[in-house]
Each structure stands twice: as C-alpha cells, then as structure tokens.
C-alpha cells in the first residue's frame, strides 16, 4: 500500500476524523460567544426596543448607514487613487511614499480622533467620517496596490493596442480586474466602521455600536444590548453577500510570469511633483495633523516625568502589549488557517458554513464579544469539569480566546486568499499520489498558503495592538497593554498623557504594517 511515513500511515483514518472534528470543535468554540449574543434575540426586550424606536433608533440606523457608506466610498476613492498614483507612476520618492501611505493604519482612530478634536474643536458626522477614512483607507490602498501589482502588464498593453488611451485602459481594464480587491477592501473598512465606538463617541455621533453601550450601561439592559448588537451581525451578513456579488463570480487568475505589475510611467519635474502632491496632502491629513499634536505632548509629558502609570512605565506596557499580541496572533492565525483549509472548495460544505459562522465575531463590537466570552466561560466553569480552584475567568487564556473570536475572520480571509490560489489540480495530484485530505493539507496546502499566513499574522497583529475594549474588559491582573494606558489617560480627560502610549501603539503597529507591505510586495494577497 503506498503510504507516507510510517507514523502517518499508522494514524490514517483516525487522524482524518480527528482533524475534521477538531476543526469543527474549534469553529464551534469560536462561534459560541457570538451565538450566545444573537440568541438573546429569541426573547426580545420589548421595552427597550420601544424606547429606542421612540427616541434614537432611527438616528442610530441612519448615522450608521451614512457613516458606513460615506467612509467606504471615501476610502475607495482615496485608497484607489493613492494605489494608482504609486503603481502607475515612477517619481522621486515613490518607494518611501508608497510605504508611508500605508502607515495611517497603525494609528488608531481613538488616538488620531482626539488630536483632531483638539485642533479643530469640531464634532459631527463629517469629522467622524474624515477621521475614520484617514485611518481605514490603507486597507483599500494595500489591497488595490497588490492587485495592480499582480496584473500582467500585457493586459494593459493589449488594451492600448485596441485603441484605449492610458487613462481609459486603466479605467476599463485595470480597475475592473481589481474589482475583487476593491470589494474586499470596502468590506474590511465597512466592518471596522460598523463596530467602532471609540472614534464616533469623540465626535458626538450615535451609531448602532454606540447604542449598544447606551442600552447596556445606560438602561442596564444587557439582553437589549445583545439584541442591538445582533443588528450589526445582520448588517455584516448583508454586507458580505453584497461583497461577494460585487466581486463577481469570475476568478481572475492571471499568469503573471516575469512581467507582473502594471507598467509605471516615469514622471519628472513639475509633473512628478504634481503627482506626488496628492499622496503628500493625504499624509499630512492622516498622519501629519495627529503627529503635530502627539509628539509635543509626548515630549512634555516625558520631560515632566509623567511617562508612567500606576502599572509601570513604557517598557512594562510595551512588554504586556507584546505578550498579548504574540499569543493572540498565534492562536488566531492557527484557527484561521485551519478554518480556511477546511473550507476549501473540495471539502465538505458544512465546513464552509461553519467557517462563516465562526468568523462573525468581526461584526460584533469588542465588548459584546467579551461578554459573550464571559458567559461561555462562566457556563464552562459551572459544568465542573475543571478541578476546583482552577478559575478560567480573568486569565490570559480567556483574553486571547476573546481576541481570537473577534479577529479570526481577518486571519481566515487572508489565508483563504492564498488557498484560493492553490490550483485544484495540484491538490488532486497529491490525492492520486496517496495523500488523504489531512496529509494534503499538511504537505501541500499549508506550505502553499504560507504567504497568506504571513499576511494574516500581520493584519491580526495590527488589529490586536490597537485593540482596546476587549482587552480593557478581560485583561488579567498586571497585564496592561498600551491601549489600556491610552484609555486611562483619556478617561481622566488627560489627552496629553495619552500621547506617549498613543505613539507607542502606532510604532508597534507600524511593524505589522511593514511586514504586511513586504508580504504583499512578494505577491501575497490579503483577502479571498
């Protein structure tokens, strides 16, 4: 009997079953908190809903919709334009600019938000939209840039020979071919807008996510809050469907070969400056303004010896952040990879459905995920399976679990994008050579999705570095990350003291951005 190594041969069928059920169990574990949250819809809190209906519900829905649409549209325009400028033109400083344009992703909205508030003093929907766009457009930018790089230069050349001017070739060929990436970027941006609370609060905008907290803490109605959160889950489902439709069913596989990437045209002199001006202005808005506030504040705070908190200095917080980030990234990426591989076209349909359910955590605001997790953990502890004295709640494990629930969608999407590029034939070839599904996953799919795994790790890392509400709620004693420091400063109305941790968060997240850029440059993709 043809076989692989002796150990795998011995395991055979049990391994296959174990692998499948482990993935199923993992998906169930990841989905549980969200299910718990949505389940509260079974017995709706009619009081709360009628109150909401009479007061803020319409405003919440409208604000959320307007904000989501506005920020997505603005991010698409800004991100695509930036990607086009960088991909299609060769001007002095192009590489540096290309890198800098992704950097605003590293600055959380709740940090750049208060700098803007300090500079302009203006609130409202428009300001909130501007700040959110400034910190989210890099998703579109990175995805579109990667898409432009992936396309064959031949396609544009073909269009040119058929009579298209350079501009029209872009508009009619390059951009449509990049549609999947644009749709994916829009989806990422939309999800972040839907679940944002920190930034919109600063600008006095009431979204559904904000409403969740008003109901939860203001009306002291946890079930009502969970029900409102379910609205967001519903919106996310709608959005994912729209995204799939927008992407179209074609799988635009292009054999790049040696000439990948749309050709860049050299622009010099005045034209060069004109072309570079756009991104520079964008950066001034997205990065310049916040830094102008943050850096002097940080300087004075440190000079006055206030660069510390109750839990220690910058190094302590940095180490805590690193601890949480590394654990969360490992767990989330492993989970996302398992889900992505299990959900491949050749596999059981149930696995794909399960994967979709397990990734809904991304649509739920952080604290709601945290409460869902706490409820699940409390239930687990109540079952008495753990030895007495072994408390789960308040441990690092629970925090990491909650972060995994929240962000596995991102890891899954990134790995699935790579998995989609694995030709089905190659998988089939492995099957005919004697490898069962598990062995195929290990020996063929896993190595081939490695670029996606790197992207997944970078994206999840960036998200977790910036993450606040879940960490604030679930962190164990002595683990105070940098965002927690930011919160402690801002909750006490001391914005200046939030500058040092704010800059450190941005610095740490920049590492993730750099890794992401490098991986994308090497041909990885961000979302399927």
């Amino acid at each position: 009997m043809t076989a692989l190594g002796a150990p795998v041969k011995a395991l055979g069928a049990p391994v296959k079953a174990l692998g499948a059920s482990a993935t199923a169990l993992g998906a169930a574990v990841l989905a549980a908190p969200v299910v718990v949250v949505v389940a509260s819809l079974v017995e709706p809190s009619t009081d709360t809903w009628s109150h909401l209906w009479q007061t803020r519900l319409v405003e919440m829905l409208v604000s959320t919709a307007v904000l989501a649409v506005g920020v997505v549209a603005a991010s698409l325009v800004v991100g695509t334009a930036a990607a086009w400028l960088v991909a299609a033109h060769d001007f002095p400083g192009r590489r540096l600019l290309g890198w800098l344009l992704a950097l605003p992703l590293a600055l959380p909205g709740y940090v750049s938000g208060f700098t803007w508030l300090d500079v302009t003093g203006r609130q409202g929907l428009v300001m909130a939209a501007v700040v959110l766009t400034a910190s989210l457009y890099p998703y579109v930018y990175l995805l579109t840039l990667a898409a432009f790089r992936e396309q064959s230069a031949r396609t544009v050349e073909a269009a040119r020979t058929l009579g298209c001017s350079r501009w029209r070739a872009w508009w009619r060929v390059v951009l449509p071919l990049a549609r999947p990436s644009l749709a994916a970027g829009a989806a990422l941006v939309a999800m972040e807008v839907l679940t944002d609370v920190g930034t919109v609060r600063l600008f006095d905008v009431t979204t559904v996510a904000d409403g969740v907290f008003r109901v939860w803490f203001g009306l002291d109605d946890r079930d009502g809050a969970a029900e409102l959160a379910s609205v967001l889950v519903g919106a996310a489902v709608v959005m994912v469907t729209v995204e799939r439709l927008a992407r179209g069913r074609a799988r635009f596989v292009q054999r790049g070969g040696r000439d990948t990437g749309v050709a860049a045209r050299r622009v010099r002199g005045a034209r060069g400056i004109a072309v570079a001006a756009g991104p520079v202005v964008l950066l001034l808005v997205a990065l310049g303004v916040p830094l102008v506030r943050l850096v002097p504040w940080a300087w004075t705070t440190v000079a006055e010896g206030q660069g510390r908190t109750v839990s220690g200095g910058a190094v302590d917080h940095l180490l805590d952040s690193l601890l949480v980030v590394s654990l969360a990234v490992v767990v989330t990426v492993v989970a996302g990879t398992a889900l992505a591989l299990a959900g491949r076209p050749g596999r059981a349909r149930a696995a794909r459905v399960l994967a979709r359910v397990a990734t809904t955590g991304y649509a739920v605001p952080g604290p709601v995920v945290a409460i869902g997790v706490l409820v699940c953990v409390a239930w687990l502890e109540a079952q008495g399976w753990w030895p007495a004295g072994w408390a789960l709640a308040g441990t690092l494990g629970v925090l990491v679990y909650a972060l995994a629930v929240r962000y596995v969608a991102v890891a899954h999407a990134a790995v699935a994008a790579s998995a989609d590029k694995v030709p089905e034939r190659v998988v089939e070839a492995a099957r005919t050579l004697g490898s069962g599904p598990g062995a195929v996953a290990l020996r063929v799919e896993l190595p081939l999705v490695r670029p996606g795994v790197v992207v997944a790790a970078a994206l999840v890392g960036i998200d977790v570095v910036k993450e606040l509400p879940v960490t604030l709620l679930l962190r164990p004693f002595g683990v105070d990350t940098l965002p927690v420091w930011v919160w402690q400063a801002t909750s006490d109305s001391r914005w200046e003291q939030a500058a040092v941790p704010g800059l450190l968060v941005a610095g740490l997240a920049s590492v993730g951005v750099a890794v992401l850029l490098a991986a994308l440059a090497r041909g990885a993709e961000m979302v399927a």
């Binding site: 009997m1 043809t2 076989a3 692989l4 190594g5 002796a6 030709p423 034939r425 190659v426 089939e428 070839a429 492995a430 099957r431 005919t432 050579l433 004697g434 490898s435 069962g436 062995a439 020996r443 063929v444 190595p447 081939l448």
Partner: protein
C-alpha cells in the same frame, strides 16, 4: 493480476454507461472530440469524481467507493500540476514511502532521462521536462494503473515525436496498465496497443 475494468459507469452529464476493459500491462488509447467526456472518464477512474452508477475494478479490487489516495492509480495531468513548493526530487518522491524515497527518485529520474535535475524547481523547467517529471512522479509509487491526460498537448512537434517514443518505451518497461487520452490520432497510433473512441459518453471501437 492488474488491469482495469469499467462496467456501466455513469457520470452525469457526460458519461452514460461506459463499459471498458484494459488488460494487464496493456496501453489503451482513448480518442474523441473535446467535450466527449475523456477527461471525466479518467478522473472517475482516479476517484476525483464520483460515479452515479456502475463499477470500477482495478486488479481484483472494486474501487468504486474508494477515495483517490487508496486506489493506487497514477494520473498525469494535462497541465502537469507539479507542486510549486517542492523541487523535482520532492515532486517525484512525493508518493513514495520515506524509506525508499531517495532510491526510487534516482531510479525514475534515470528512467525519464532527467538525471541531475533533482534540485531544479518546477518553474525552471521547460514544457517537455515538466511533463517528464509529472510522468516520473505518477510512476514512482508503482501504481496499478496509470492514466495520462493529453500528455503531449503542450509540446512542440519535434519534442512530441521524441517523447511519444520515450513514453512508449517507459510504459513497456514498467509494464503498467495505462490509459492515454488524446485527441491526436498520431499519438494513438504511436503509443497504444489498442484504440477506442469516446463519443457522446459512450464507447465506440
């Protein structure tokens, strides 16, 4: 005793009851227009596609419900489908037990006349080299049946000619039961012991 036997095999929508017997060590060539279901038939034998009716027997075993990895069928894909993350040796030895992997790889690379190519990467290979690696890879685990899907489709004429003769002698030397699918009649005559045609889902001699 090896050999391949299909009885009343149906795969919706293309195959509507195929009966086929290939004797042990025989090389059967399957011709027919595109869309007739030749590739589907191969994939059904390999287990990559489920049959809605009928049975498939390889040697003395009924493999109709077996998954591909248990059937001991080798398949050379039309586009070769080499593993991009492994070198030539890694590709060829993929289906071979670790114990005898190194020896078998050397043996097969010799057979297909690619000695010294062990460390090359798939993207560094020409069309003909890549096809020979695919062939070596499929043969390495000593399959009971070998299936070749349009093996010479992507090659230029001189290479085609040379390769036809090579593949023929390799198959003879290995003594493996084989089914070759092609739309080129010249291939059929050069390689096969017997030629059958597949038309609209059924076989015609």
């Amino acid at each position: 005793m090896s050999g391949l036997e299909l009885r009343g095999v149906c795969v919706a929508p293309v195959l509507t009851g195929v009966d086929l017997t290939v004797a042990d060590g025989e090389v059967l060539v399957l011709v027919g227009p595109s869309g007739a279901g030749k590739t589907t038939l191969l994939r059904a034998v390999a287990g990559l596609v489920a049959v809605s009716a009928g049975s498939i027997r390889i040697g003395i075993r009924d493999v109709t419900t077996e998954p591909p990895e248990r059937r001991r069928v080798g398949l050379v894909f039309q586009d070769h489908a080499l593993f991009p993350h492994l070198d030539v040796a890694g590709n060829v030895g993929f289906g071979v037990a670790r114990r005898e992997r190194a020896a078998r790889v050397t043996e097969l690379l010799s057979l297909v006349r690619l000695d010294g190519f062990a460390r090359r990467r798939p993207h560094e290979l020409s069309g003909g080299e890549s096809q020979r690696v695919a062939l070596a890879r499929a043969l390495a685990p000593r399959p009971e049946v070998l299936l070749l899907d349009e093996p010479f489709a992507s090659l230029d004429p001189e290479l085609r000619d040379a390769l036809r003769r090579e593949v023929r002698s390799i198959l003879r030397a290995a003594g493996t039961t084989a089914v070759v699918v092609t739309h080129d009649v010249a291939d059929a005559e050069a390689i096969g012991d017997r030629v059958v045609a597949l038309r609209a889902g059924r076989l015609v001699e």
